[in-house]
Symmetry: C2
Subunit: 123 residues, 2 copies
DNA sequence: ATTATTGTATTAAGCTCTTAATACAATAAT
DNA sequence: ATTATTGTATTAAGAGCTTAATACAATAAT
C-alpha cells in the first residue's frame, strides 16, 4: 500500500488526509479496527509520534474512536461520515473552481476542460 | 491587494503561486515592470529574502526576467506563458479529479457536483 | 559626481515539523 | 500471574522555513 507522502507539506497533515480518504472510500469500513499506531507508522514509513499526531486529530474530529488498550476503530456513525465526506468534497470543488477562475478561465471553459479530462481518464 | 498567505505551507511557495496567477490572469501584463523585491515584500508583508526566493524561482521558470538594476519585467513570450498556464490548469484538474475519485465519487457524480457549484457561484 | 535604487548575498536567531529513543499505565492474551 | 500489546508522554536533536539585520556591486536618477 503506497502512502506517497511528499516533503512539501507537513507529513501529519498528509496522513490525516490519506486516512480520511480510506474511510470515505470504504477501504476502512465503519466500525472496523484500525491497525495500531506502531503498525500504521511502520506501514507509512513514518515515526510513531507523527502517526499518533494524525490519529489524535482524526479522533478529535470524531472519525476515529480510541479504546485505550484495545486499539482504535472507525466510527460507526454513518451520517457523520457522510456529512464529513460531503463537506470535504465541497471544499475541494470550491477551491478548485476558485483557482481556475483566478487563472482566468471562465465557468464554461472549466466545464469543457473537466469533461475532456474525464474522457481521457476513461481510456 | 490581499496576498492572503497561510501558515500551513511555505510562504515562498505561495508567493510563487500568487505571482503566477497574476501573470496568467493578466493582472501583470506581458512585458510590464514588476515592483522591486523590497516593494513586493512590503506589499505582501513578507521578508525581502522570502520574496527574493520566490522571484528567483519564477525567473528560473522563465516567467520573469531580471534586468539587474532596472528591476524585473514579466516575460514577453506569450506562447511560453500560455503553455505554462495550460500545464498548470491540467495539473489542477487532474489532481482535483484524482482526489474526488479517491473519496469515492464517480466521474458522473463529479460532473454533477461541479455543475451545481458553478450554478451557486453565478448567483 | 553624488545619491538613490536595483538585485543579491551572508549570518544568526527562532520557529515548526520530524525523527529518535525511551518510558509508563492499562489491559488483552497466554 | 506473567507477557505482550495498546495508547500516550517526554526529551533531545536535526532539518527547513522565515525573519532580521546588514552589506555589496551596478546603474539609474539627480
Amino acid at each position: 500500500m503506497a502512502w506517497d507522502l511528499k516533503p512539501d507539506r507537513p507529513i501529519y497533515t498528509q496522513l490525516i488526509e490519506k486516512i480520511q480518504l480510506k474511510i470515505f472510500s470504504g477501504e476502512y469500513p465503519l466500525g472496523s479496527n484500525l491497525p495500531s499506531v506502531r503498525d500504521l507508522a511502520s506501514e507509512a514509513s513514518v515515526n510513531p509520534n507523527t502517526m499518533q499526531r494524525a490519529l489524535a486529530k482524526l479522533e478529535e474530529d470524531g472519525l476515529v474512536v480510541t479504546h485505550r488498550t484495545k486499539g482504535r476503530t472507525i466510527t460507526e456513525d454513518a451520517d457523520m461520515v457522510k456529512q464529513a465526506k460531503n463537506k470535504l468534497a465541497q471544499i475541494h470543488i470550491f477551491e478548485f473552481l476558485e483557482k481556475m477562475q483566478l487563472m482566468g478561465f471562465s465557468k464554461d471553459e472549466v466545464l469543457v476542460l473537466i469533461s475532456e479530462m474525464l474522457k481521457e481518464m476513461k481510456k
